[in-house]
Protein backbone atom coordinates (compact mmCIF):
# COMPACT_ATOMS: atom_id res chain seq x y z
CA UNK A 1 0.00 0.00 0.00
CA UNK A 2 3.03 2.27 0.18
CA UNK A 3 2.38 3.46 -3.37
CA UNK A 4 -0.95 4.81 -2.15
CA UNK A 5 0.63 6.92 0.57
CA UNK A 6 3.23 8.09 -1.93
CA UNK A 7 0.44 9.29 -4.16
CA UNK A 8 -1.30 11.27 -1.49
CA UNK A 9 1.92 12.98 -0.56
CA UNK A 10 2.30 14.92 -3.81
CA UNK A 11 -1.36 15.85 -3.85
CA UNK A 12 -1.85 17.37 -0.47
CA UNK A 13 1.37 17.61 1.45
CA UNK A 14 4.33 18.25 -0.76
CA UNK A 15 3.43 21.77 -1.72
CA UNK A 16 3.51 22.63 1.97
CA UNK A 17 6.86 21.05 2.76
CA UNK A 18 10.08 22.94 2.59
CA UNK A 19 13.31 21.48 1.36
CA UNK A 20 14.23 23.85 -1.44
CA UNK A 21 17.76 25.08 -1.34
CA UNK A 22 18.11 28.62 -0.14
CA UNK A 23 19.08 31.12 -2.78
CA UNK A 24 21.16 32.78 -0.10
CA UNK A 25 23.59 29.87 -0.05
CA UNK A 26 27.09 30.71 -1.22
CA UNK A 27 27.56 30.63 -4.98
CA UNK A 28 29.89 27.66 -4.69
CA UNK A 29 27.34 25.68 -2.74
CA UNK A 30 24.67 26.60 -5.25
CA UNK A 31 26.77 25.41 -8.12
CA UNK A 32 27.01 21.97 -6.67
CA UNK A 33 23.41 22.10 -5.54
CA UNK A 34 22.10 18.86 -7.01
CA UNK A 35 24.60 16.89 -4.97
CA UNK A 36 25.37 19.23 -2.09
CA UNK A 37 21.71 19.49 -1.17
CA UNK A 38 21.50 15.71 -0.94
CA UNK A 39 19.05 15.69 -3.81
CA UNK A 40 18.40 12.27 -5.26
CA UNK A 41 19.85 11.75 -8.72
CA UNK A 42 17.47 11.81 -11.67
CA UNK A 43 17.31 8.04 -11.82
CA UNK A 44 18.99 5.19 -9.97
CA UNK A 45 22.57 4.86 -11.06
CA UNK A 46 22.49 8.10 -13.02
CA UNK A 47 24.59 11.08 -12.14
CA UNK A 48 24.23 12.82 -15.48
CA UNK A 49 21.66 15.56 -15.99
CA UNK A 50 21.81 17.42 -19.27
CA UNK A 51 20.34 20.90 -19.19
CA UNK A 52 20.39 24.37 -20.65
CA UNK A 53 21.65 27.42 -18.80
CA UNK A 54 20.30 30.67 -20.20
CA UNK A 55 22.09 33.94 -19.67
CA UNK A 56 19.47 36.69 -19.39
CA UNK A 57 22.26 39.26 -19.51
CA UNK A 58 23.15 38.56 -23.13
CA UNK A 59 19.93 37.27 -24.72
CA UNK A 60 18.92 39.91 -27.25
CA UNK A 61 15.55 38.38 -28.13
CA UNK A 62 16.41 37.60 -31.77
CA UNK A 63 14.38 34.34 -31.83
CA UNK A 64 17.16 32.54 -33.73
CA UNK A 65 16.95 29.71 -31.16
CA UNK A 66 13.17 29.48 -31.77
CA UNK A 67 13.66 29.32 -35.52
CA UNK A 68 16.48 26.78 -35.49
CA UNK A 69 14.63 24.63 -32.94
CA UNK A 70 11.57 24.60 -35.16
CA UNK A 71 13.59 23.89 -38.28
CA UNK A 72 15.46 20.94 -36.78
CA UNK A 73 12.54 19.42 -34.96
CA UNK A 74 9.97 19.82 -37.72
CA UNK A 75 12.35 18.06 -40.11
CA UNK A 76 13.55 15.36 -37.77
CA UNK A 77 12.31 12.50 -35.61
CA UNK A 78 9.75 14.61 -33.73
CA UNK A 79 8.30 16.35 -36.76
CA UNK A 80 6.54 17.58 -38.64
CA UNK A 81 5.38 20.14 -36.10
CA UNK A 82 2.10 21.88 -36.87
CA UNK A 83 2.10 25.23 -38.68
CA UNK A 84 -1.48 26.37 -38.97
CA UNK A 85 -2.49 29.46 -40.92
CA UNK A 86 1.20 30.37 -41.44
CA UNK A 87 0.57 33.30 -43.75
CA UNK A 88 -2.76 34.48 -42.28
CA UNK A 89 -3.57 36.97 -39.58
CA UNK A 90 -3.28 34.49 -36.72
CA UNK A 91 -0.48 32.02 -37.43
CA UNK A 92 -0.17 29.33 -34.78
CA UNK A 93 1.67 26.08 -34.37
CA UNK A 94 3.87 23.89 -32.23
CA UNK A 95 7.17 25.17 -30.89
CA UNK A 96 9.46 23.58 -28.31
CA UNK A 97 11.04 26.89 -27.47
CA UNK A 98 9.68 30.43 -27.37
CA UNK A 99 11.21 33.78 -26.48
CA UNK A 100 9.10 36.19 -24.46
CA UNK A 101 9.89 39.80 -23.59
CA UNK A 102 9.34 41.60 -20.32
CA UNK A 103 9.91 45.16 -19.14
CA UNK A 104 11.30 45.25 -15.62
CA UNK A 105 11.22 48.38 -13.49
CA UNK A 106 9.56 51.80 -13.77
CA UNK A 107 10.50 54.48 -16.28
CA UNK A 108 13.18 55.73 -16.57
CA UNK A 109 14.83 52.82 -14.72
CA UNK A 110 13.63 50.02 -16.96
CA UNK A 111 15.31 47.01 -18.43
CA UNK A 112 14.02 44.88 -21.28
CA UNK A 113 14.46 41.21 -20.45
CA UNK A 114 14.16 38.63 -23.20
CA UNK A 115 13.13 35.35 -21.70
CA UNK A 116 13.59 32.07 -23.64
CA UNK A 117 11.21 29.42 -22.37
CA UNK A 118 11.31 25.67 -22.96
CA UNK A 119 11.07 22.43 -20.98
CA UNK A 120 13.27 22.68 -17.88
CA UNK A 121 13.92 18.91 -17.70
CA UNK A 122 13.02 18.81 -14.00
CA UNK A 123 14.83 16.35 -11.78
CA UNK A 124 11.45 15.59 -10.22
CA UNK A 125 9.17 16.09 -13.24
CA UNK A 126 5.47 16.23 -12.26
CA UNK A 127 4.47 15.46 -15.87
CA UNK A 128 5.93 11.92 -15.84
CA UNK A 129 4.07 10.00 -13.08
CA UNK A 130 0.63 11.26 -14.20
CA UNK A 131 0.97 9.84 -17.73
CA UNK A 132 -1.47 6.90 -18.02
CA UNK A 133 0.42 5.13 -20.82
CA UNK A 134 4.06 5.55 -19.85
CA UNK A 135 4.65 7.68 -22.97
CA UNK A 136 6.14 10.43 -20.79
CA UNK A 137 9.43 9.43 -19.24
CA UNK A 138 12.69 10.76 -17.92
CA UNK A 139 15.69 9.15 -19.57
CA UNK A 140 17.82 7.48 -16.92
CA UNK A 141 21.06 7.94 -18.83
CA UNK A 142 21.04 11.73 -19.07
CA UNK A 143 17.89 13.04 -17.35
CA UNK A 144 16.17 14.27 -20.52
CA UNK A 145 12.36 14.30 -20.19
CA UNK A 146 10.84 12.83 -23.35
CA UNK A 147 7.53 11.75 -24.87
CA UNK A 148 7.23 8.52 -26.83
CA UNK A 149 4.96 9.78 -29.64
CA UNK A 150 3.92 6.22 -30.51
CA UNK A 151 2.56 5.57 -27.01
CA UNK A 152 0.98 9.00 -26.43
CA UNK A 153 -2.83 8.95 -26.55
CA UNK A 154 -3.07 12.74 -26.61
CA UNK A 155 -5.03 13.14 -23.38
CA UNK A 156 -3.13 16.28 -22.38
CA UNK A 157 -2.93 15.32 -18.70
CA UNK A 158 0.86 15.82 -18.52
CA UNK A 159 0.50 19.40 -19.78
CA UNK A 160 -1.88 20.13 -16.90
CA UNK A 161 0.65 18.73 -14.44
CA UNK A 162 3.50 20.95 -15.67
CA UNK A 163 3.48 24.31 -13.84
CA UNK A 164 5.62 25.92 -16.56
CA UNK A 165 3.43 25.25 -19.58
CA UNK A 166 6.43 23.62 -21.23
CA UNK A 167 4.47 21.04 -23.21
CA UNK A 168 2.38 21.64 -26.29
CA UNK A 169 -0.21 19.34 -27.81
CA UNK A 170 0.41 19.22 -31.53
CA UNK A 171 -2.93 20.03 -33.18
CA UNK A 172 -2.10 18.00 -36.28
CA UNK A 173 -0.32 14.94 -34.88
CA UNK A 174 -2.62 14.92 -31.80
CA UNK A 175 0.22 13.90 -29.50
CA UNK A 176 2.06 15.81 -26.78
CA UNK A 177 5.31 17.42 -27.84
CA UNK A 178 8.10 19.13 -25.96
CA UNK A 179 11.76 20.10 -25.99
CA UNK A 180 13.92 17.00 -26.39
CA UNK A 181 17.23 18.82 -25.93
CA UNK A 182 17.65 17.56 -29.52
CA UNK A 183 18.29 13.94 -28.52
CA UNK A 184 18.50 13.19 -32.20
CA UNK A 185 21.53 15.48 -32.48
CA UNK A 186 23.38 14.53 -29.28
CA UNK A 187 24.40 11.05 -30.42
CA UNK A 188 24.05 11.62 -34.14
CA UNK A 189 27.15 10.27 -35.82
CA UNK A 190 26.15 11.97 -39.06
CA UNK A 191 26.99 15.28 -37.41
CA UNK A 192 30.47 16.62 -36.62
CA UNK A 193 31.26 16.40 -32.89
CA UNK A 194 30.95 20.18 -32.46
CA UNK A 195 27.38 20.12 -33.75
CA UNK A 196 26.14 17.39 -31.39
CA UNK A 197 24.34 19.99 -29.31
CA UNK A 198 20.77 21.30 -29.20
CA UNK A 199 19.86 23.35 -32.28
CA UNK A 200 18.98 26.37 -30.15
CA UNK A 201 22.45 26.45 -28.61
CA UNK A 202 24.15 26.33 -32.00
CA UNK A 203 21.94 29.12 -33.35
CA UNK A 204 22.41 31.63 -30.55
CA UNK A 205 24.53 34.52 -31.90
CA UNK A 206 25.35 35.89 -28.42
CA UNK A 207 26.16 32.58 -26.71
CA UNK A 208 23.31 33.14 -24.25
CA UNK A 209 22.53 29.42 -24.19
CA UNK A 210 24.93 27.02 -22.50
CA UNK A 211 24.47 23.27 -22.64
CA UNK A 212 25.94 20.50 -20.53
CA UNK A 213 25.76 18.22 -17.52
CA UNK A 214 24.66 20.17 -14.44
CA UNK A 215 25.61 17.22 -12.20
CA UNK A 216 29.25 17.54 -13.22
CA UNK A 217 30.67 20.32 -11.02
CA UNK A 218 33.49 20.93 -13.52
CA UNK A 219 31.20 21.46 -16.52
CA UNK A 220 30.73 24.85 -18.15
CA UNK A 221 27.08 24.95 -17.09
CA UNK A 222 27.81 24.07 -13.45
CA UNK A 223 30.52 26.71 -13.27
CA UNK A 224 28.20 29.31 -14.82
CA UNK A 225 25.46 28.42 -12.32
CA UNK A 226 27.94 28.70 -9.45
CA UNK A 227 29.55 31.94 -10.57
CA UNK A 228 26.39 33.75 -11.62
CA UNK A 229 23.88 32.34 -9.16
CA UNK A 230 21.82 30.39 -11.70
CA UNK A 231 18.15 30.50 -10.76
CA UNK A 232 15.45 27.84 -10.90
CA UNK A 233 11.98 28.89 -12.07
CA UNK A 234 9.04 28.50 -9.65
CA UNK A 235 11.11 26.78 -6.94
CA UNK A 236 7.94 26.71 -4.79
CA UNK A 237 6.74 23.53 -6.54
CA UNK A 238 9.90 21.55 -5.78
CA UNK A 239 10.17 20.19 -9.30
CA UNK A 240 13.91 20.87 -9.19
CA UNK A 241 14.25 22.16 -12.76
CA UNK A 242 17.57 21.23 -14.34
CA UNK A 243 17.61 24.29 -16.61
CA UNK A 244 18.79 27.46 -14.89
CA UNK A 245 18.61 31.15 -15.72
CA UNK A 246 21.59 33.43 -15.08
CA UNK A 247 20.11 36.67 -13.71
CA UNK A 248 20.88 40.15 -15.01
CA UNK A 249 23.93 41.64 -13.33
CA UNK A 250 22.89 44.60 -11.19
CA UNK A 251 19.36 43.35 -10.80
CA UNK A 252 18.43 42.16 -7.32
CA UNK A 253 18.22 38.36 -7.02
CA UNK A 254 14.86 36.80 -6.12
CA UNK A 255 14.00 36.58 -2.43
CA UNK A 256 15.04 33.47 -0.56
CA UNK A 257 13.20 30.42 -1.80
CA UNK A 258 12.44 29.35 1.77
CA UNK A 259 10.37 32.47 2.29
CA UNK A 260 8.20 31.69 -0.69
CA UNK A 261 7.72 28.09 0.36
CA UNK A 262 5.60 29.34 3.21
CA UNK A 263 3.05 30.57 0.71
CA UNK A 264 3.26 27.34 -1.24
CA UNK A 265 1.05 25.31 1.07
CA UNK A 266 -2.03 23.96 -0.60
Amino acid sequence: MSFLTDLFKPAFARAATGGAVSAKASPAARGAQPRAAGAAPAAPGSTKQLALVIDLDVCVGCHACVTNCKQWNTSGEAGPLADLNPYGAGPTGTFFNRVQTYEVGAFPDTQTVHFPKSCLHCEDPPCVPVCPTGASYKRAADGIVLVDADKCIGCGYCAWACPYGAREMDPSAKVMTKCTLCVDRLENEQLPQAERKPACVLACPTNARLFGDVHDPASEVSRAIAERGGQALMPEWQTRPANRYLPRRGMAPPPAQDARDGAGGA
Binding site: T92, V99, T112, G156, A161, G165, Q231, A232, G265
Partner: protein
Amino acid sequence: MRPAWSIVIFTTLAGMGQGFFLGLLGLETFAGDAWPAALLAPAAWAVLALLAAGLVASVFHLGHPERAWRAASQWRTSWLSREVIVLPALMAAVGVHALALTLLAQGAAPRGIAFVLGASAGVAAALCAALWWCTGMIYACLRMLREWATPLTPLAFAALGLASGLGLAAAWFACALGRLAGQVAHAVHVAPLVVAHVPVLESARASVGGLCAAALAATFVAIAVKGAWWWRREALRPASTLQSALAIAHPRIRQMSMGMTGGSFNTREFFHHAAPWVMSALPVAMIVFGAALPLVAFAAAAMHSPDAAGAALLCLVVVLQAGGVLCERWLFFAWARHPQNLYYQGVA
Protein backbone atom coordinates in the same frame (compact mmCIF):
# COMPACT_ATOMS: atom_id res chain seq x y z
CA MET B 1 -8.35 26.02 -17.41
CA ARG B 2 -10.37 25.44 -20.53
CA PRO B 3 -13.32 23.21 -19.65
CA ALA B 4 -13.11 20.09 -21.80
CA TRP B 5 -16.69 19.23 -22.76
CA SER B 6 -15.86 15.56 -23.17
CA ILE B 7 -14.75 15.35 -19.53
CA VAL B 8 -17.53 17.62 -18.23
CA ILE B 9 -20.13 15.32 -19.82
CA PHE B 10 -18.31 12.10 -18.90
CA THR B 11 -17.97 12.91 -15.19
CA THR B 12 -21.56 14.18 -14.97
CA LEU B 13 -23.09 11.12 -16.67
CA ALA B 14 -20.88 8.53 -15.00
CA GLY B 15 -21.35 10.11 -11.56
CA MET B 16 -25.11 10.08 -12.10
CA GLY B 17 -24.95 6.44 -13.16
CA GLN B 18 -22.99 5.50 -10.04
CA GLY B 19 -25.53 7.24 -7.79
CA PHE B 20 -28.39 5.63 -9.70
CA PHE B 21 -26.86 2.20 -9.15
CA LEU B 22 -26.48 2.77 -5.41
CA GLY B 23 -30.15 3.90 -5.33
CA LEU B 24 -31.14 0.71 -7.14
CA LEU B 25 -29.16 -1.36 -4.64
CA GLY B 26 -30.92 0.44 -1.79
CA LEU B 27 -34.26 -0.49 -3.32
CA GLU B 28 -33.22 -4.13 -3.79
CA THR B 29 -31.96 -4.29 -0.21
CA PHE B 30 -34.80 -2.58 1.62
CA ALA B 31 -37.79 -3.14 -0.70
CA GLY B 32 -36.75 -6.20 -2.67
CA ASP B 33 -40.06 -7.95 -1.96
CA ALA B 34 -42.11 -5.07 -3.30
CA TRP B 35 -40.43 -4.68 -6.67
CA PRO B 36 -40.49 -7.48 -9.25
CA ALA B 37 -37.22 -8.13 -11.07
CA ALA B 38 -38.94 -7.11 -14.31
CA LEU B 39 -39.10 -3.51 -13.03
CA LEU B 40 -35.60 -3.52 -11.49
CA ALA B 41 -33.73 -4.87 -14.52
CA PRO B 42 -34.37 -1.86 -16.82
CA ALA B 43 -32.93 0.44 -14.15
CA ALA B 44 -29.72 -1.62 -14.03
CA TRP B 45 -29.46 -1.46 -17.83
CA ALA B 46 -30.03 2.30 -17.64
CA VAL B 47 -27.08 2.59 -15.24
CA LEU B 48 -24.96 0.68 -17.74
CA ALA B 49 -26.16 2.99 -20.54
CA LEU B 50 -25.18 6.08 -18.51
CA LEU B 51 -21.71 4.67 -17.80
CA ALA B 52 -21.28 3.69 -21.45
CA ALA B 53 -22.38 7.15 -22.63
CA GLY B 54 -19.84 8.65 -20.25
CA LEU B 55 -17.12 6.35 -21.57
CA VAL B 56 -17.94 7.34 -25.15
CA ALA B 57 -17.83 11.04 -24.20
CA SER B 58 -14.45 10.58 -22.52
CA VAL B 59 -12.98 8.98 -25.65
CA PHE B 60 -13.57 12.27 -27.49
CA HIS B 61 -10.98 13.80 -25.18
CA LEU B 62 -8.22 11.68 -26.68
CA GLY B 63 -6.08 12.55 -29.69
CA HIS B 64 -5.50 8.85 -30.35
CA PRO B 65 -8.45 6.76 -29.07
CA GLU B 66 -7.09 3.71 -30.89
CA ARG B 67 -4.24 3.62 -28.36
CA ALA B 68 -6.52 4.03 -25.35
CA TRP B 69 -5.79 0.48 -24.17
CA ARG B 70 -2.29 1.63 -23.24
CA ALA B 71 -3.80 3.89 -20.59
CA ALA B 72 -4.35 0.92 -18.28
CA SER B 73 -0.62 0.32 -17.91
CA GLN B 74 0.53 2.99 -15.42
CA TRP B 75 -1.81 2.22 -12.51
CA ARG B 76 1.13 2.35 -10.11
CA THR B 77 1.56 6.11 -10.50
CA SER B 78 -1.32 7.60 -12.49
CA TRP B 79 -4.85 8.16 -11.18
CA LEU B 80 -6.00 8.49 -14.78
CA SER B 81 -4.70 5.00 -15.45
CA ARG B 82 -6.56 3.72 -12.37
CA GLU B 83 -9.78 5.32 -13.60
CA VAL B 84 -9.28 3.65 -16.96
CA ILE B 85 -9.20 0.28 -15.18
CA VAL B 86 -12.00 0.90 -12.67
CA LEU B 87 -14.61 2.23 -15.13
CA PRO B 88 -14.78 -0.87 -17.38
CA ALA B 89 -14.65 -3.08 -14.27
CA LEU B 90 -17.66 -1.24 -12.86
CA MET B 91 -19.45 -1.56 -16.19
CA ALA B 92 -18.78 -5.31 -16.18
CA ALA B 93 -20.12 -5.70 -12.63
CA VAL B 94 -23.23 -3.62 -13.41
CA GLY B 95 -23.70 -5.64 -16.62
CA VAL B 96 -23.60 -8.94 -14.69
CA HIS B 97 -26.09 -7.53 -12.18
CA ALA B 98 -28.44 -6.35 -14.95
CA LEU B 99 -28.19 -9.71 -16.69
CA ALA B 100 -29.01 -11.58 -13.47
CA LEU B 101 -32.04 -9.34 -12.87
CA THR B 102 -33.20 -9.89 -16.45
CA LEU B 103 -32.89 -13.68 -16.14
CA LEU B 104 -34.84 -13.50 -12.90
CA ALA B 105 -37.52 -11.38 -14.57
CA GLN B 106 -37.92 -13.94 -17.35
CA GLY B 107 -38.58 -16.64 -14.82
CA ALA B 108 -35.30 -18.37 -15.56
CA ALA B 109 -33.52 -18.76 -12.26
CA PRO B 110 -30.34 -20.77 -12.77
CA ARG B 111 -28.66 -22.16 -9.71
CA GLY B 112 -26.60 -19.61 -7.84
CA ILE B 113 -28.46 -16.60 -9.26
CA ALA B 114 -28.94 -15.18 -5.77
CA PHE B 115 -25.20 -15.36 -5.19
CA VAL B 116 -24.42 -13.72 -8.54
CA LEU B 117 -26.95 -10.99 -7.80
CA GLY B 118 -25.47 -10.31 -4.36
CA ALA B 119 -21.83 -10.57 -5.40
CA SER B 120 -22.21 -8.32 -8.44
CA ALA B 121 -24.08 -5.79 -6.30
CA GLY B 122 -21.33 -5.73 -3.66
CA VAL B 123 -18.49 -5.53 -6.19
CA ALA B 124 -20.24 -2.82 -8.20
CA ALA B 125 -20.98 -0.75 -5.08
CA ALA B 126 -17.31 -0.87 -4.09
CA LEU B 127 -16.26 0.03 -7.64
CA CYS B 128 -18.70 2.98 -7.64
CA ALA B 129 -16.86 4.42 -4.64
CA ALA B 130 -13.47 3.59 -6.21
CA LEU B 131 -14.41 5.31 -9.47
CA TRP B 132 -15.46 8.49 -7.66
CA TRP B 133 -12.18 8.48 -5.79
CA CYS B 134 -10.10 7.88 -8.94
CA THR B 135 -11.95 10.54 -10.93
CA GLY B 136 -11.56 13.10 -8.15
CA MET B 137 -7.91 12.26 -7.50
CA ILE B 138 -7.03 12.80 -11.17
CA TYR B 139 -7.56 16.49 -10.39
CA ALA B 140 -6.74 16.56 -6.69
CA CYS B 141 -3.25 15.08 -7.24
CA LEU B 142 -2.15 18.05 -9.40
CA ARG B 143 -0.61 20.12 -6.62
CA MET B 144 0.05 23.09 -8.91
CA LEU B 145 -3.67 23.50 -9.53
CA ARG B 146 -4.42 24.53 -5.98
CA GLU B 147 -8.17 24.88 -6.51
CA TRP B 148 -8.22 21.12 -7.24
CA ALA B 149 -5.57 19.91 -4.79
CA THR B 150 -7.83 19.09 -1.86
CA PRO B 151 -9.64 15.96 -0.60
CA LEU B 152 -12.82 18.02 -1.04
CA THR B 153 -12.47 17.50 -4.80
CA PRO B 154 -13.10 13.71 -4.84
CA LEU B 155 -15.67 14.15 -2.07
CA ALA B 156 -17.55 16.71 -4.18
CA PHE B 157 -17.47 14.38 -7.21
CA ALA B 158 -18.97 11.62 -5.04
CA ALA B 159 -21.56 13.80 -3.30
CA LEU B 160 -22.80 15.41 -6.52
CA GLY B 161 -22.89 12.06 -8.31
CA LEU B 162 -24.82 10.54 -5.42
CA ALA B 163 -27.31 13.44 -5.26
CA SER B 164 -28.01 13.46 -9.00
CA GLY B 165 -28.02 9.65 -9.23
CA LEU B 166 -30.35 9.13 -6.27
CA GLY B 167 -32.59 11.84 -7.72
CA LEU B 168 -32.68 9.95 -11.01
CA ALA B 169 -33.46 6.71 -9.14
CA ALA B 170 -36.33 8.43 -7.32
CA ALA B 171 -37.77 9.80 -10.58
CA TRP B 172 -37.25 6.47 -12.37
CA PHE B 173 -39.06 4.41 -9.74
CA ALA B 174 -41.77 7.04 -9.22
CA CYS B 175 -42.57 6.44 -12.89
CA ALA B 176 -42.26 2.67 -12.42
CA LEU B 177 -44.85 2.87 -9.62
CA GLY B 178 -47.50 3.46 -12.29
CA ARG B 179 -46.59 0.21 -14.04
CA LEU B 180 -46.44 -1.65 -10.75
CA ALA B 181 -49.91 -0.36 -9.86
CA GLY B 182 -51.17 -1.53 -13.25
CA GLN B 183 -49.72 -4.99 -12.69
CA VAL B 184 -51.22 -5.18 -9.24
CA ALA B 185 -54.63 -4.03 -10.51
CA HIS B 186 -54.44 -6.69 -13.22
CA ALA B 187 -53.51 -9.34 -10.69
CA VAL B 188 -56.35 -8.29 -8.40
CA HIS B 189 -58.74 -8.42 -11.36
CA VAL B 190 -57.57 -11.91 -12.32
CA ALA B 191 -57.47 -13.26 -8.77
CA PRO B 192 -59.50 -10.97 -6.54
CA LEU B 193 -59.04 -13.21 -3.54
CA VAL B 194 -55.27 -12.68 -3.47
CA VAL B 195 -55.23 -9.48 -1.45
CA ALA B 196 -51.52 -9.72 -0.67
CA HIS B 197 -50.78 -7.52 -3.71
CA VAL B 198 -52.06 -4.32 -2.11
CA PRO B 199 -49.49 -4.15 0.74
CA VAL B 200 -46.82 -4.74 -1.92
CA LEU B 201 -47.91 -1.58 -3.67
CA GLU B 202 -47.85 0.36 -0.40
CA SER B 203 -44.36 -0.91 0.35
CA ALA B 204 -43.14 0.06 -3.14
CA ARG B 205 -44.63 3.52 -2.70
CA ALA B 206 -42.81 3.85 0.62
CA SER B 207 -39.53 2.78 -1.01
CA VAL B 208 -39.85 5.59 -3.59
CA GLY B 209 -40.41 7.99 -0.69
CA GLY B 210 -37.24 6.59 0.84
CA LEU B 211 -35.31 7.22 -2.40
CA CYS B 212 -36.57 10.82 -2.40
CA ALA B 213 -35.44 11.23 1.21
CA ALA B 214 -32.03 9.74 0.34
CA ALA B 215 -31.71 12.10 -2.64
CA LEU B 216 -32.62 14.99 -0.34
CA ALA B 217 -29.96 13.98 2.19
CA ALA B 218 -27.35 13.51 -0.56
CA THR B 219 -28.19 16.95 -1.95
CA PHE B 220 -27.63 18.47 1.51
CA VAL B 221 -24.25 16.72 1.73
CA ALA B 222 -23.32 17.83 -1.80
CA ILE B 223 -24.17 21.45 -0.95
CA ALA B 224 -22.05 21.25 2.21
CA VAL B 225 -19.04 19.67 0.46
CA LYS B 226 -19.16 21.85 -2.64
CA GLY B 227 -19.77 24.90 -0.46
CA ALA B 228 -16.64 24.07 1.52
CA TRP B 229 -14.72 23.58 -1.76
CA TRP B 230 -15.94 26.97 -3.00
CA TRP B 231 -15.15 28.71 0.29
CA ARG B 232 -11.62 27.27 0.22
CA ARG B 233 -11.20 28.39 -3.39
CA GLU B 234 -12.24 31.96 -2.56
CA ALA B 235 -9.57 32.11 0.15
CA LEU B 236 -6.75 30.73 -2.04
CA ARG B 237 -3.91 33.01 -3.02
CA PRO B 238 -1.65 31.98 -5.92
CA ALA B 239 1.57 30.36 -4.72
CA SER B 240 3.49 31.39 -7.83
CA THR B 241 4.08 34.96 -8.95
CA LEU B 242 5.50 36.54 -12.08
CA GLN B 243 8.61 37.08 -9.97
CA SER B 244 9.02 33.39 -9.13
CA ALA B 245 8.05 32.38 -12.69
CA LEU B 246 10.85 34.50 -14.17
CA ALA B 247 13.27 34.35 -11.21
CA ILE B 248 13.37 38.16 -11.26
CA ALA B 249 12.77 39.81 -7.90
CA HIS B 250 11.66 43.22 -9.14
CA PRO B 251 8.13 44.20 -8.03
CA ARG B 252 7.36 45.87 -11.37
CA ILE B 253 7.39 43.47 -14.31
CA ARG B 254 5.30 44.01 -17.43
CA GLN B 255 5.02 41.53 -20.27
CA MET B 256 5.73 43.04 -23.68
CA SER B 257 5.55 39.92 -25.85
CA MET B 258 4.24 36.40 -25.29
CA GLY B 259 6.49 35.03 -28.04
CA MET B 260 3.89 34.26 -30.70
CA THR B 261 1.42 35.99 -32.99
CA GLY B 262 -1.72 33.87 -33.28
CA GLY B 263 -1.84 32.19 -29.88
CA SER B 264 -0.59 28.74 -28.93
CA PHE B 265 -1.58 25.61 -27.05
CA ASN B 266 -0.66 27.55 -23.89
CA THR B 267 -3.09 30.40 -24.58
CA ARG B 268 -5.89 28.03 -25.61
CA GLU B 269 -5.71 25.14 -23.14
CA PHE B 270 -5.17 26.96 -19.84
CA PHE B 271 -7.71 29.80 -20.09
CA HIS B 272 -11.50 29.43 -20.14
CA HIS B 273 -11.97 32.29 -22.66
CA ALA B 274 -15.59 32.67 -21.49
CA ALA B 275 -17.46 35.98 -21.53
CA PRO B 276 -17.86 37.69 -18.14
CA TRP B 277 -21.63 37.20 -18.20
CA VAL B 278 -21.11 33.44 -18.57
CA MET B 279 -18.78 33.41 -15.58
CA SER B 280 -21.34 35.24 -13.45
CA ALA B 281 -24.43 33.40 -14.77
CA LEU B 282 -23.14 29.84 -14.40
CA PRO B 283 -22.67 29.93 -10.60
CA VAL B 284 -26.28 31.12 -10.32
CA ALA B 285 -27.46 28.32 -12.63
CA MET B 286 -25.40 25.84 -10.61
CA ILE B 287 -27.02 26.91 -7.34
CA VAL B 288 -30.58 27.14 -8.69
CA PHE B 289 -30.65 23.92 -10.73
CA GLY B 290 -28.06 21.88 -8.88
CA ALA B 291 -29.03 22.75 -5.30
CA ALA B 292 -32.17 24.82 -4.64
CA LEU B 293 -34.61 23.19 -7.07
CA PRO B 294 -33.67 19.58 -6.17
CA LEU B 295 -33.87 20.40 -2.45
CA VAL B 296 -37.45 21.66 -2.74
CA ALA B 297 -38.54 18.93 -5.17
CA PHE B 298 -37.02 16.02 -3.22
CA ALA B 299 -38.39 17.34 0.07
CA ALA B 300 -41.88 17.66 -1.43
CA ALA B 301 -41.64 14.21 -3.05
CA ALA B 302 -40.39 12.62 0.17
CA MET B 303 -43.32 14.04 2.13
CA HIS B 304 -46.05 13.34 -0.41
CA SER B 305 -45.56 10.17 -2.39
CA PRO B 306 -45.62 11.38 -6.04
CA ASP B 307 -48.57 10.44 -8.29
CA ALA B 308 -48.26 10.20 -12.08
CA ALA B 309 -48.06 14.00 -12.51
CA GLY B 310 -45.63 14.25 -9.61
CA ALA B 311 -43.42 11.58 -11.19
CA ALA B 312 -43.32 13.52 -14.46
CA LEU B 313 -42.41 16.67 -12.56
CA LEU B 314 -39.67 14.77 -10.71
CA CYS B 315 -38.24 13.67 -14.08
CA LEU B 316 -38.07 17.30 -15.18
CA VAL B 317 -36.33 18.26 -11.92
CA VAL B 318 -33.77 15.50 -12.41
CA VAL B 319 -32.96 16.71 -15.93
CA LEU B 320 -32.55 20.29 -14.65
CA GLN B 321 -30.43 18.98 -11.75
CA ALA B 322 -28.13 17.26 -14.27
CA GLY B 323 -27.85 20.64 -15.99
CA GLY B 324 -26.83 22.15 -12.64
CA VAL B 325 -24.15 19.48 -12.21
CA LEU B 326 -22.91 20.21 -15.76
CA CYS B 327 -22.54 23.88 -14.75
CA GLU B 328 -20.67 22.81 -11.62
CA ARG B 329 -18.28 20.62 -13.61
CA TRP B 330 -17.69 23.35 -16.21
CA LEU B 331 -16.87 25.86 -13.46
CA PHE B 332 -14.62 23.31 -11.76
CA PHE B 333 -12.33 23.64 -14.76
CA ALA B 334 -12.86 27.33 -15.51
CA TRP B 335 -12.14 28.37 -11.91
CA ALA B 336 -8.79 26.55 -11.78
CA ARG B 337 -5.90 28.96 -12.30
CA HIS B 338 -2.84 27.30 -13.79
CA PRO B 339 0.56 28.78 -12.80
CA GLN B 340 1.70 28.66 -16.46
CA ASN B 341 -0.79 31.49 -17.12
CA LEU B 342 1.72 33.84 -15.49
CA TYR B 343 3.74 33.59 -18.71
CA TYR B 344 0.74 34.71 -20.78
CA GLN B 345 -0.29 38.01 -19.21
CA GLY B 346 -1.78 39.14 -22.51
CA VAL B 347 -4.60 36.59 -22.18
CA ALA B 348 -7.31 37.70 -19.79
